[in-house]
Symmetry: C2
Subunit: 315 residues, 2 copies
């Protein structure tokens, strides 16, 4: 019986998932990612783990026929990685390397794109073919799925909504060099920065004044508990996210937005704030896209990687 292996390579751990064709996750495990020595151990380590699993499965009459990998950085359409700072990689072709070691077809993609595919396949986007995922973590990432497939885009740029400039009043520069990027506003870092700025500018009472180094979670918790200043900070930050979603609607018109990443842990409060701002920025049509929370959490990557293997291997 056919199985597909989904691999999600992170800077600290590499996750593995074994999938049936119907999308069922049968088994998952992880191992440390050894990023030393310019990351030369990463692919052999993955190959060793995969080969062991393949042996074990063979005894049970099951066969891994293809594998997919999510990589934490940009890669071009040909699978070539110029530079991946999280893994210390320079000028390599990871899928081709793993393919040589395992003798099965292997496909690789950017991890945000792969996670988007996972959510569209078996997560919040199950009922939709055209989906745009935004991940709110330390930074803001994203991925675009059109007709059920990853859109990579020229230079791997599709889905890079975190670096659309949405705040013309921002004076600080983003890591990318531009000013006012969504990344500066709606990431965990951005939420904390804007909450601290608001605390400094206002005299208003807030529970956040009693926290030494508030996190985005602290801001969210305070807002949920009714703290007006914390809520104002979130509303300010998510106003830019709503604006960004309206921009995406005017470019590619997805049916569904999925919001994932650590910040999405604040749940319905986030959806409520973003949805209001998104709709306020939609002047041409009232046929709004839906906005949902991601449901696969940290497993989105292995789901999407397996799906990519399934779609591209033809086996």
């Amino acid at each position: 019986m056919k199985r597909y292996l989904g691999i999600d390579i992170g800077g600290t751990t590499t996750k593995f998932g074994l999938f049936c064709e119907n999308g069922q996750l049968e088994e998952k495990w992880e191992q440390k990612t050894r990023i030393g020595d310019n990351g030369v151990h990463i692919i052999p380590d993955i190959a060793a783990a995969a080969a062991e699993k393949m042996e074990e499965l063979k005894k049970r009459n099951r066969e891994i026929v293809a594998a997919g990998m999510g990589i934490p950085g940009p890669m071009n359409d040909a699978g070539y990685v110029e530079r991946c700072v999280n893994l210390n990689w320079n000028n390599c072709a990871p899928a081709a390397g793993l393919e040589r070691l395992l003798s099965i077809p292997v496909f690789a993609g950017n991890d945000a794109n792969v996670a988007a595919l996972g959510e569209q396949w078996q997560g919040a986007g199950k009922d939709f073919r055209n989906v745009f995922l935004i991940t709110l973590g330390t930074g803001v990432g994203g991925g675009m799925i059109a007709d059920g497939r990853i859109v990579n885009g020229r230079g791997g740029m599709a889905g890079e909504i975190g670096h659309v400039s949405v705040n013309p009043d921002e004076v600080l520069r983003c890591n990318c060099g531009n000013r006012g990027c969504l990344d500066q506003m709606a990431s965990a870092t951005g939420i904390v920065r804007n909450a601290l700025r608001l605390l400094e500018q206002s005299e208003e009472d807030s529970v956040l004044r009693t926290v030494a180094h508030p996190s985005a979670r602290d801001v969210a918790d305070a807002a949920s508990a009714g703290d007006a200043l914390a809520l104002a900070a979130l509303d300010y930050c998510f106003g830019f996210l709503g604006k960004a979603l309206s921009i995406v609607s005017h470019v590619s018109g997805p049916d569904l937005f999925i919001i994932g990443g650590g910040v999405s842990g604040m749940g319905e409060l986030l959806i409520r704030l973003v949805e209001r701002h998104y709709r306020q920025n939609m002047y041409l049509s009232a046929d709004y896209a839906e906005i949902r929370l991601a449901t696969l959490g940290n497993d989105a990557g292995i789901y999407g990687a397996a799906r990519m293997a399934m779609q591209n291997s033809g086996v």
Copy 2:
């Protein structure tokens, strides 16, 4: 021998094109669009012209096997038109109507999307699968082609780049109700408005001061002839267009931008100005999309409509 009919319905004239499978335009003609009586004559008039051509072709052993139509307004994925102000239509399904009268498969789409498909198929985008068309005319429209097919988007919104807000300093409202839309900056109307504003604000000499009611063409001609103020006005307007293209790159990452519509008549000057601003706004990747002028002119619509018929009819 199979032929495909491409139809481009405008508020004044309806254009027809007869196409071979290889993309060759064999014949084209047009007739007046009768928009009176709530537009009830439009589809029967088209059917009469098409039926006559089908009869004539039959004698030469040629057969129109499917037709496509571009409509100047939004329609949903099911082909339903809620309202099309240019044709006085309300609540109709034009493709289904024509299909009943002609007994061949008929497909309809928004005219900007259909023109984008035409340019991708046989125009400036011939060598590309992922293309974004921007039309600069009285307003700013657009269409997105992914993997060689039209992306319609939720509520027909894909490609509506004209209503992305790109100028935070704009004080006037766009027709859509928002402020600072690309439509207000880079349309023919927008170019004239901004040139007049610049004339008013500066004391600088300009040939435009001698023109009673300058058109966008006058601004372009003056700029080409070395008029510094006219060039500054164009540079200002196309700065926002360059910014808009960088936004599109961060969302869907096309390989090629095609610029069409009346304003694109100013040619290489336009490309030069837009390209500079586009690249200045791309911080994440230097793998820039190409920017080209449209090549099919007013025929883009009939090309795209025929292509749509070919792709969707399966005959």
